[in-house]
């Protein structure tokens, strides 16, 4: 008599493909997933609680460590929230520096995603190629602010450092170089039959489901929803640039892949235009009081990070510390759909689906 049993498999937190310390408890029948229970919180640091005892400028380094792959957007969201409350006017040059830094960060973040996703699917080389280009971006940002990962670059009212001599030219040269390399990425991976078989139709969800689960970023745009805060609720100076929002309609891992690759190209367009329009001189900081005290009240701002909508809510009592601070962390919200997607899939697809969501555990766990 043959007897089959369900097996409980613990994937993570020490597992090469959970991108950090994510854990899923799987109930599997053979290799088919029957039930998936994600466990998060291994990297929880209580950023929001800590922030209640910190001055606003002191909170900025903590935001670097949330989504550590695109720290610039995190820096921006908190500065943007405080600036909105205080009604500050930001100098042109600072805005351009911010946009260039954020878009370079977006490209770097998508490159890491591209590399690690392909590594999850078993291809080694794309990872190293993607990291070569990411290294170039990180070197640029390093010249700008002296850090490679946790930049702590933006301040309430502007940016900390001005662009060094010749930096803008280097960024200008980087754009055609990156375009050239992108062609190589597509040659190596995009048309590969094995890769297409691994991603087409995998992790499919509809437009309605994506909205119900509050997904954002490429995870939303892959279902055909045209929603990008840079276009739909322009913040900073994004209304000055001409770029498209890549939207794909199949709603599977393949659409998410195409979406992110197209976003790299759009970001390059923005960087190119920002470098063209970059003001030759000007202040990089607005007139900001030495101790920042936003007026009593509350504010919520949201911007488009590489992973989706990142939001920042501040409740202030007019003191130098916030009364309450809350981040809407896109990875956390994007992860919610995972248990639903995994049911009925096998282990290999699990990796393809989880990787396709593009989570950063620092952000999921806060």
């Amino acid at each position: 008599m043959i007897r089959t049993e369900e097996m409980l498999l613990n994937v993570g937190p020490q597992h090469p493909s959970t991108h950090g310390v994510f854990r899923i408890i799987l109930k599997i029948d053979g290799e088919t997933v029957i039930e998936a229970t994600p466990v998060i919180g291994y990297l929880h640091r209580g950023t929001e609680k800590l922030a209640e005892n910190l001055q606003y400028t002191q909170i900025i380094p903590y935001t670097d460590r949330m989504d550590y792959l695109s720290a610039m957007t995190n820096n921006y969201v908190i500065c943007h929230a405080v600036e909105t409350m205080m009604g500050l006017e930001i100098p042109e040059r600072a805005e351009y520096l911010r946009v260039i830094a954020m878009e370079l960060g977006r490209i770097a973040s998508h490159l890491v995603w591209y590399g690690t996703y392909l590594l999850d699917l078993g291809a080694m080389s794309p990872f190293l190629y993607a990291f070569r280009e990411r290294e170039a971006i990180i070197n640029l940002l390093n010249e700008l602010c002296g850090a490679r990962l946790t930049f702590n670059y933006m301040r309430v009212g502007g940016v900390k450092w001005d662009a060094p001599e010749g930096w803008i030219e280097k960024v200008r040269d980087f754009v055609p170089y990156m375009r050239e390399q992108l062609k190589g990425y597509h040659d190596l991976v995009t048309g590969n039959e094995i890769f297409l078989n691994r991603v087409k139709g995998i992790g499919y969800y509809t437009k309605e489901e994506a909205i119900d689960y509050s997904l954002s970023g490429a995870n939303l745009r892959c279902t055909g929803v045209n929603w990008d805060l840079r276009k739909d609720e322009p913040y900073s100076i994004y209304d000055r640039f001409d770029f498209d929002v890549p939207v794909f309609h199949t709603g599977d891992a393949w659409a998410r892949y195409q979406c992110r690759m197209a976003e790299i190209e759009e970001s390059l367009k923005i960087v190119e235009q920002a470098v063209e329009q970059f003001p030759a001189e000007g202040a990089i900081m607005a007139k900001v009081p030495r101790i920042i005290k936003p007026p009593k009240g509350e504010a919520f701002v949201r911007i488009e990070s590489p992973r989706g909508e990142i939001g920042c809510y501040i409740a202030s009592e007019g003191k130098k510390e916030p009364y309450r601070l809350k981040f809407r962390r896109p990875s956390f919200y994007n992860l919610q759909i995972l248990p639903k997607l995994l049911v009925g899939e096998n282990l290999a697809n699990l990796i393809a689906i989880l990787g396709g969501i593009d989570i950063v555990l620092g952000e999921v766990d806060g």
């Binding site: 190293l128 890769f195 282990l347 290999a348």
Partner: protein, 334 residues
């Protein structure tokens, strides 16, 4: 000389000679494995804009693998408490021993060959099948869920791909009319069988990649899914045995491919002055290089797609190849 020894009555001298010959073969193969690993790392490094090993043994890291193996030798040998102890110990041996056994029938040149048996090809295929048991056993005995999944995958993969592998060589057997590997090489004096039976060659090459569990068929040890597959609980020299088996099989499979399809030690026309062994080594290295190249390029295929590919694509192609080969033989080789 071997013929003479085989005909004469057995004695201690014979045992000594055969033992020494075996030891020499072992040393040559281990030497190859050492440098195949280094070559793989170097070539991959070159393809991936890295340098590869460059510290131990001069600029080219010539002693890197030696150091790695030495490290594995002095590591603690861990056997999990809940593992099935006898099977856990037996598994690496069972995986490794057949990989050497198959080399006995491999003719490296007219003179360098050990056992020239009539059913050499059959022997190779039969013996190499034993390794799958070793891997399944290792996966089962470790009492680990990941290794169990890896063991199951590798057993399923080995069994599925052995069928197109065997089917694809039938064309060659048809041409030669013999299972003897030396006869097969002799039959390719004028034209290598890869030109006469290209479908067979392609099916054989793909199936052999799967048999060797190399990219894009490296599912049994897919590190991004199963951490390390069937050998996840193994450490130290037991683990090295699994790895060794894999690379010795690479050696054996590349040799077999050279013999069956690339004409073994037969030279390319007008270059006959170069000795046969060198021709063999060149053809053989080309195959190994292509395998490394594939590893640097492709992602991994999925388990269910792997099975579909074996049964729905490779097997029909292999059957077609038998028909085509028979037709080619009837029309051109009469």
């Amino acid at each position: 000389m071997i013929e003479h020894l085989l005909q004469s009555p057995p004695g201690w001298i014979h045992f000594l000679i055969f033992f020494c010959l075996g030891a020499i073969l072992l040393a040559i193969v281990l030497g190859f494995v050492t440098y195949a690993i280094l070559a793989e790392r170097k070539v991959l490094g070159f393809m991936q804009i890295r340098i590869g090993p460059n510290r131990i043994g001069g600029r080219f890291g010539l002693l890197q693998t030696v150091a790695d193996v030495f490290k594995l030798l002095i590591k603690e040998d861990i056997i999990p408490k809940l593992a099935d102890r006898p099977l856990f110990i037996l598994a690496p041996i069972l995986a490794f021993a057949p990989s050497f056994l198959v080399l006995a029938v491999m003719p490296f040149s007219e003179n360098v060959k050990f056992a020239d048996i009539g059913v050499g090809l059959l022997y190779y295929i039969a013996v190499s099948g034993i390794s799958a048991i070793g891997m399944l056993l290792g996966g089962w005995a470790s009492n680990n869920k990941y290794s169990l999944l890896g063991g199951m995958r590798s057993a399923a993969q080995m069994i599925s791909y052995e069928i197109p592998l065997v089917m694809s060589v039938i064309g060659v057997i048809l041409f030669t009319g013999s299972l003897n590997l030396t006869d097969i090489v002799e039959g390719q004096k004028h034209v290598a069988y890869m030109f006469l039976s290209p479908i067979g060659f392609i099916v054989f090459f793909i199936s052999s990649l799967a048999e060797l569990s190399r990219t894009p068929f490296d599912l049994p040890e897919a590190e991004s899914e199963l951490v390390a597959g069937y050998h996840v609980e193994y450490s130290g020299f037991r683990w090295a045995f699994f790895m060794l088996a894999e690379y010795v099989y690479l050696f054996a499979m590349a040799s077999l491919m050279t013999v069956l399809f690339l004409g073994g030690w037969n030279p390319i026309p007008f270059l006959g002055f170069i000795p046969g062994v060198i021709w063999f080594a060149l053809k053989f290295s080309l195959i190994v290089f292509i395998m490394i190249w594939i590893r640097g390029t492709f992602p991994r295929i999925r388990a269910d797609q792997l099975m579909e590919f074996a049964w729905k694509v490779l097997l029909p192609l292999a059957l077609l190849n038998i028909f085509v080969s028979a037709a080619v033989k009837e029309l051109f080789l009469k």
